[in-house]
Symmetry: C3
Subunit: 250 residues, 3 copies
């Protein structure tokens, strides 16, 4: 038996919004310590790694490991119905192939989502060192990514001398955003060596949906290596994304 | 000659929005006591029955019965132009086949809508007893209907033991909303005997557009019989809908 | 070298929004006195005539006349990225075929827009006398134009006896808006002789986008002659539109 209670149903809504941009189907793993999800997008360019420890919940009860395979589009459509000031209860009996999703507010509204038997794919998170680790307001990073989208489908991230440069260029022009310590927008930077790499803007935009969950984003990368993007939830737990680099044509 | 003045043009806008979801063309009947409209949707599954007594108007003048046949889409497009803090004047001379729709605010804006000669179809409202009559906040009922839409095109309404249950199920899952007295959302319930019936969500959604006009909805039904949905306007008058049941397949 | 600084980037955004509704490509002319743009729409029915004197800018530096040919759709997409509380810097080196568009707010975001070599077309503004000149709140004129759009693609403007009448008619009905001195919406009227003329609503709607820049619109016309519509910017400078009349069919 699995049962988890979240104080604010909209936190789970934002989590599902974030995951569903990348992943069509996937299995949460609930165990006594909390809920985890690790899944790749269909083209296997990006990975999402979600951890919600028991402490992130108002109530949590899970006696043994239990996979909860879902279609994220269906779950997203249910979570669109989340209202303000509503608790969320997730509940699954051992023998049932359905997840109960219950909103408790003025009324009690219970959705029952058919679960998927997805088999088991063991994904490991990339074990790669990152030469640069930067904390910045999630909104600032989101704006820079949207700026880059005006002229291109790809963005070049460059970290050097205490500055994060977000650059893009295409037929429609060029964009150059500098996020500096002086401006107060670069909250911290740890750098073993300068780094620059090219990433897909469409994936970054999808990953930034998680900025609804966290005011701060942590960006890690190395030259021409995958990017890692962390969002720490205020309730506890985190969403981590990994994104493969694009090879630079020049 | 017919002339009616409404203190707030947006009340008429909401009425036309509500009627136009169901009905393409129809004839208001203005007489010395007020304005009435009774019309069915093209597939004759639902009926709207509008009554606006003379007292609902700031000014009202009609010496004899006068049909006012309109295309509701055209009238809706005119009413979209209603501003805040504007009075509405409806005016028709005896010999004219046009309705003047005048907004009086900072400026005076007069629309002239060509009227239709629709012949006369005498519709009587269904004279059926209802075993259940429930008052609930219109917003609560609307949310329950939207919940049901997530998984199905039909909804099962069940009233029993002082609870209104709104249920739907389909391939995408199940929904179960309980509106109870304890929650304060079931304002009153009168029940001769328990009742349950299946109704089309697309029609219910259209009918709920009238929730803009009334904070309270009154829902009446009997097992496998038509549903009646009443909205009482704060200005006086009411909009009543009737909806045929769907046969349950089980 | 050309460099101009605007205190509020959104003023330039509104200017580009206004111009881009009518014009696809055009050349600003920057000279020591300020920036000008005169351009016609592709079907040569309407002209926009923009003047932004040096004084409209927080900083302005231009040593010699310099054409700045742009694709307005591309510039509009860049200006969509304007945030609140951001300064705008426009900058072009003499030898460069690119305009730097820099937003200075929390971060510094620099776009580089490829410029077009458009040749030089000398357009002169129509030198025609206007028998009527009317000042009215831009919002009031905009609402009247939107009213007219409900029933027609054309609008008849009539000025007589201290009233501006905005009228349209079509299969869907008629509209008649009166903007009078008594209502306080006709701020001033100068009239050599009464005037009436028919104009395209789609063009007027495009021109009214400039109402974001000015609370007051000045409307000038004569019977069956072009219309002139002026918006004075609060920062200094103005946008003037000219629109050819439609011949009345009756």
């Amino acid at each position: 038996m699995f049962k988890a209670v979240l104080a604010d149903s909209r936190v789970w809504k934002s989590i599902i919004d974030s995951v569903s941009t990348l992943v069509e189907e996937g299995a949460f793993i609930a165990d006594p310590s909390g809920i985890k999800l690790r899944a790749m997008d269909p083209s296997r360019v990006a990975m999402v790694d979600l951890e919600l420890p028991k402490a992130a919940f108002e109530g949590y009860d899970c006696s043994a490991e239990m996979p909860i395979g879902v279609n994220f589009e269906d779950m997203k459509n249910i979570m669109k119905r989340a209202g303000s000031n509503e608790k969320l209860e997730l509940e699954k009996a051992d023998e049932e192939a359905r997840l109960k999703i219950r909103f408790r507010g003025k009324t009690t509204r219970t959705f029952s989502l058919p679960l998927l038997d997805l088999g088991k794919e063991e994904l490991s998170a990339p074990r790669i060192p990152f030469n640069v680790s930067i904390k910045t307001p999630a909104a600032t990073l989101l704006e820079a990514i949207r700026d880059a989208e005006v002229v291109s489908d790809f963005v070049k991230m460059t970290a050097d001398q205490g500055v994060l440069k977000v650059r893009a260029s295409g037929d429609r022009g060029e964009v150059d955003v500098e996020i500096t310590k002086e401006s107060g927008e670069l909250l911290s930077i740890e750098m073993k060596e300068p780094a620059h790499a090219l990433y897909s803007l469409s994936y970054l935009t999808k990953m930034m949906v998680a900025s609804a969950l966290s005011e701060i984003a942590t960006l890690m990368f190395s030259t021409d290596m995958p990017l890692r993007l962390d969002f720490n939830l205020s309730t506890g737990g985190k969403i981590v994304y990994y994104l493969a680099p694009r090879m630079e044509s020049d």
